[in-house]
């Protein structure tokens, strides 16, 4: 079997007496869209933070394309091809949309110890930024300061920033959070396009979106993976229904 792009093995993270991540193991194959779902407090954000390097696990390992990255800092992981979006939008509010994306491109164009030439006039960086903005449909808003963008636009910009670093793996932490119905539909459509180019780990509450997009789903409850499989398997799984989906009729209705 080919080496998975992302391999998480027996990851454990405790906060005092609480085990927030309890022996979690999961694989993400190249080209796969792997969704992680679970009720509030299941430890999804804790898990994501360990994947991105913002939190160290107490034991276990994370490897990206065969390389152990368990204790690598966030920026080193990014250089290896791991990009993330934040659950709560985290952008440079006083920069324009294009600046936000151009900085991500700049981070991947070698070091930034260049002190004299105007970075905003570097064609390579601007082109990369505009291409990524175009990809998410935000090109017409390129020169608008982020603090004046709508919430939906900021979610899309998060995605453009992640894309600009040309990642192998995209970690999306609730990209639909706070989006309206039409915005959500646009985001699903966009992700459907993106998944053709890049492997994605998607943490999401929006069940219709998850079941529409995912190749595989892992269900996290109290820090443990209680089930993992394709959408049909997950939908049929009794444990999952009991723990999580029981009252979410929308799942059974959704194609």
């Amino acid at each position: 079997m080919a080496e998975p792009l992302l391999r998480v093995e027996k990851l454990v993270r405790r906060f005092g007496g609480i085990i927030a991540t309890d022996n979690v193991s999961l694989d993400v194959a190249s080209g796969e869209l792997h969704a992680i779902i679970g009720p509030n407090g299941a430890g999804k954000t804790t898990l994501i933070s360990q994947l991105t390097g913002h939190l160290e696990p107490h034991s276990g390992s994370v490897s990206l394309a065969g390389r152990d990255i368990t204790y690598l800092s966030a920026y080193r992981r990014c250089a290896l091809g791991l990009a993330r979006s934040f659950q709560i939008t985290s952008l440079l509010l006083d920069f324009t949309a294009a600046d936000n994306v151009a900085l991500a491109a700049q981070a991947h164009a070698g070091h930034s110890f260049r002190f004299f030439t105007n970075a905003r006039k570097e064609k390579g960086l601007r082109d990369a930024a505009h291409a990524a903005l175009d990809r998410v449909g935000l090109l017409h808003r390129a020169d608008v300061v982020v603090s004046r963008l709508s919430h939906g636009e900021r979610r899309e910009l998060e995605l453009a920033v992640a894309l600009a670093s040309k990642p192998k793996l995209l970690l999306l932490d609730e990209p639909m959070a706070g989006l309206g119905v039409t915005e959500s539909q646009r985001m699903v459509k966009l992700l459907q396009e993106l998944r053709k180019e890049v492997s994605i780990v998607l943490v999401e509450h929006d069940m219709p979106a998850v079941f529409a997009l995912a190749d595989r789903i892992s269900v996290l409850v109290y820090g443990r993976v209680i089930a993992s499989g394709d959408p049909a398997t997950i939908r049929a799984n009794e444990d999952v229904k009991r723990a999580y989906l029981g009252d979410q009729h929308v799942v059974t209705h959704h194609g």
Binding site: Y75, R84, A104
Partner: protein, 314 residues
């Protein structure tokens, strides 16, 4: 796009004033004003250097006056030891400031927020007490610089006008450098870190490295101000490093407008002119100065530059 704005006009007026000042001094026979403005220009340079880390970099250093002392003592100590050449004194002043900034920055940048303010303050106070303990170089009483830096006939620092223009040229050069830096790749990274450090790390920037280099650049620039200041007063003492002086520099930056190119210059001019003017009227000038600054900071968000910007729009 509006090319002409109120803040631009006022800035241009101020710069023109600074350039033409020696002429006025000559014509009116008012020598004092030239001495005063030499001091203002030097401290404007210091404020501009602080603005690079504070305004653009978001690093609230409360120990910036330490570089004034280090630059000054480099000149004073070398002069005392018989090394009078400015071609040695100035590079040593800059190098000493850079090394101090590198060490202090490497330690301080492990902390954030209030802790960063406190630790930079603590280091500057340490430098203050070290200088006070230098018995050979005057200790508490300070060190008289009997001969100004000698640039072998290229420029005579003892000539008021020449010295003033040297200081002004240094100020303009530093502001030009800062302008290039803040628009460069490096500058965008540093400003990005001010805005959202977590995000910058997530897109792949090692934060501390960039902040440290910025910290060193700023400290070196301020060391230049220190070397000039020692030449201006023919004297250097631990008092230039005292924390209140660091506070003055911060006030100049905030007063003029943090994160603007010419704000610190504006802030230094207004702050020092006010100080001069008020101290002539009354001994208790600080009693008027304090509330006045409070009002400006409270009601003029973004300092003078911010207020001028709003005036231009409204």
């Amino acid at each position: 796009m509006k090319a002409f704005t109120v803040s631009k006009a006022v800035t241009a007026l101020m710069l023109a004033g600074l350039v033409l000042l020696p002429l006025y001094s000559q014509l009116s026979g008012n020598i004092f004003i030239l001495t005063l403005f030499t001091r203002i220009v030097i401290l404007a340079l210091a404020a501009a250097s602080l603005n690079l880390i504070m305004g653009f970099g978001g690093m609230m250093s409360f120990g910036h006056a330490a570089y004034l002392g280090i630059g000054g003592y480099a000149v004073g100590m070398l002069a005392q030891e018989g090394v009078g050449s400015g071609f040695i004194q100035f590079p040593v002043a800059l190098a000493a400031s850079a090394i101090y900034a590198l060490v202090i920055g490497a330690l301080s940048l492990r902390t954030r927020g209030v802790y960063f303010i406190m630790i930079t303050l603590a280091f500057a106070q340490m430098a203050y007490y070290v200088a006070s303990g230098l018995a050979r170089y005057g200790g508490d009483d300070g060190l008289t610089v009997y001969k100004r830096s000698d640039f072998s006939g290229l420029i005579n620092l003892s000539d008021r006008t020449q010295f003033y223009y040297l200081c002004l040229a240094c100020l303009f050069a530093v502001i030009f450098l800062i302008w290039r830096i803040v628009n460069s790749r490096f500058g965008l990274v540093v400003q990005g870190l001010r805005s959202n450090e977590q995000r910058m790390q997530a897109i792949g920037f090692p934060a501390k490295r960039y902040q440290l280099v910025c910290f060193v650049i700023s400290g070196t620039m301020c060391g230049l101000a220190g070397a000039l200041l020692a030449n201006n007063t023919d004297f250097v003492s631990p008092a230039v490093m005292y924390w209140t002086r660091s506070g003055d520099l911060m006030v100049m930056v905030i007063l003029g407008g943090m994160g603007t190119l010419f704000g610190p210059v504006m802030g230094a001019v207004v702050f020092l002119l006010l100080e001069e003017f008020l101290s002539q009227i009354t001994e208790y000038w600080a009693l008027i100065m304090g509330p006045l600054l409070l009002l400006i900071v409270l009601f003029g968000r973004g300092g003078i530059m911010g207020a001028l910007g709003r005036a231009g729009r409204g």
